[in-house]
């Protein structure tokens, strides 16, 4: 293992993370909810009366964020998506099904759960991190 110092961006990473934390803070205090993206979006697939407007609002905010990033910060997000169509289909199904089955994703378990000192979220996070590491290892260095 060697570190790609050119790609390593600790300051923007830390800053971005702090902003994520700010969103989490606002969410629990203003809305009384855990900011877990898979949970918020998951509730939109089978909309319940009185339960969809807030989910849609949040999702639209997330969806429009590149626009605001460009408008206010002249920031264009770099997004290099190497995955082919087959990989995207498989990945999407696994992420959607897995997040629902495992009750959370990187924001729900990884940020909120760990910050709440949830041992359950620690197990979930270590599990999906491990699965991610192994998957990439297999796809890049074995097959």
């Amino acid at each position: 293992m060697h570190i790609d110092w050119a790609a390593f961006t600790p300051i923007p990473a830390l800053l971005g993370g702090i902003i994520l934390g700010l969103a989490v803070a606002l969410y629990i205090h203003l809305h009384g909810r855990i900011l877990g993206v898979s949970g918020i979006i998951g509730g939109l697939t089978k909309p319940q009366a009185g339960d969809w407007a807030w989910r849609l609002s949040f999702t639209l905010g997330l969806l429009s964020s590149p626009f605001w990033a460009g408008l206010f910060f002249d920031l264009q997000a770099i997004q290099i998506i190497d995955a082919g169509w087959g990989a995207l289909i498989i990945a999407g199904l696994l992420v959607g099904f897995g997040a629902s089955y495992g009750s959370g994703c990187t924001s729900g378990h990884g940020i909120c759960g760990l910050s709440r000192l949830s041992f359950r979220s620690l197990v979930a996070t270590l599990t999906f991190m491990g699965a991610g590491f192994i998957t990439v290892f297999l796809l890049r260095h074995v097959f």
Partner: protein
């Protein structure tokens, strides 16, 4: 009126969260995969994203620990403490594998979709289908695995 403000706030927080993802580089699948590629040219940036996120969230949750009501009204929805069971583990495994295949998880996928990437559209549609499949079959699967 308060309800409209609450919806606006939801939108704003979605924007803020998206900005955090963009600034941190987490919306770039290549960067995520480079973090997950321990045996290759490793990019540890994601650690710092989580560090920043968790530090702020720790403080927020600590301050909120006694809250029963949200500022906009309504009860605070604290997750019920459920046991660590095979469903948590299997779900997380599947999620992690999917994450490792394309480098996308829900939040960044939506942001990438907002940037206009067709590949993000494909991923997001399949992600929603994956969620729907769980919602339809989840209980059956859980019963089978007991």
């Amino acid at each position: 009126m308060k309800r409209s403000f609450a919806l606006l706030s939801q939108f704003a927080i979605g924007v803020i969260f998206g900005l955090g993802l963009i600034i941190s580089g987490m919306t770039n699948p290549q960067k995520i995969l480079q973090f997950l590629d321990l045996a290759g040219s490793w990019d540890p940036s994601l650690i710092f994203v989580m560090l920043g996120g968790i530090l702020v969230s720790l403080a927020a949750f600590y301050l909120a620990r006694k809250r029963t009501e949200a500022w906009f009204g309504g009860l605070v929805e604290w997750p019920k403490s459920s046991p660590i069971d095979r469903h948590l583990v299997i779900g997380s495994l599947l999620f992690g594998i999917g994450w490792g295949v394309a480098g996308f998880c829900p939040g960044p996928a939506i942001v990438a979709l907002g940037s206009g990437h067709v590949k993000a559209l494909v991923f997001t549609c399949m992600m929603l289908i994956g969620m729907l499949i769980y919602q339809q079959l989840g209980s059956q699967i859980k019963n089978r695995l007991h």
